[in-house]
Symmetry: C2
Subunit: 152 residues, 2 copies
DNA sequence: AAAGATTAGATCGTGTACGATTTAAATGCG
DNA sequence: CGCATTTAAATCGTACACGATCTAATCTTT
């Protein structure tokens, strides 16, 4: 492996300065890298962390409901949820009313992990040194953009 | 596969409203989904498209230089570049001065593909219906954020 | 020049993403 | 009721990401 991608404040090193899609993409990678060491301590990946948080807010969701919140589908979620189940953090049960549906709920250990995970973002945002207002505005702008980015 | 994640304008469907990292993450997924049908016509993935663009701006870059621009390392780039080579779009050659270094250059076909790829973002941004100023500001904010998100 | 350190890529294993397909269960409709 | 349609998950194949490790080439230092 080569050296980690280094920060470059020089002018012409980034040929995608004006590509919004690239800014979103690379900022996502950067977030992932920041989160990873914190989440490693919890034994979670970034997506697993999001899934656990979503279940902490509303337990017993179906795979489809979880997918709506995470903007993902069963082909991504099913393997992820099986890993969380293997790790003892969630339970997957077919609904008795509708056997097509799988409901996912946190185990006791899953709830403990969710509790620990809750304080991760605070540590992290503090380390960015950016203002709360600025981050809030950025968040709103991204949500609006995401809403516009719909196939069709 | 379930139905595609649907747009939801309701209030409480997204439990991560206030998570900037999630907004960045999910907007990245949304961009990917928008780009995919356009790039499928070129036979490129999103990352392959970025690599081709980077090479079109500066041909004959090393794997490491390319990685600095894309914020990626050889463990991601090497397989990607091999696929582009197999597709006949790039050539990979070890430098004769320093045999550790691999230089990547576009083939004639690669340059044609790069030319076609150049007009993709315009089509796309038009479809978002967002103002150029707003997108520019968002871009600046993201670049600043990305710059702050550094391990350590 | 020889030995150790550094560097550039490549390789490997795990975990997302996602299109396409499959399976099984529920629903609709004549 | 019976059968086509729809739906929810699961499965499969391909392509990223990335930590860890490996290999080979260059540099350092004596």
């Amino acid at each position: 492996m080569t050296k980690p991608p280094s920060s470059q404040s020089g002018a012409d090193l980034d040929p995608f300065e004006d590509f919004l899609c690239f800014s979103v993409y690379s900022t996502g990678l950067a977030f992932n890298r920041i989160y990873k060491p914190l989440l490693d301590q919890l034994g979670l990946t970034y997506l697993q962390y999001l899934a656990i948080l979503a279940l902490a807010r509303q337990d017993g969701q179906t795979v489809g409901e979880l997918g709506e919140k995470l903007f993902l589908e069963s082909n991504t979620l099913t393997p992820l949820l099986k890993r969380l189940e293997a790790a003892g953090l969630v339970e997957r049960r077919r609904s008795t009313q509708d056997e097509r549906v799988v409901r996912v709920s946190l185990t006791a250990q899953g709830r403990r992990t969710a509790e620990e995970a809750r304080c991760v973002p605070a540590e992290l945002l503090e380390s960015t040194g950016l203002s709360a207002e600025g981050l809030g505005e950025l968040n709103e702008a991204l949500k609006k953009l995401r809403g516009q980015l719909r196939p069709g």
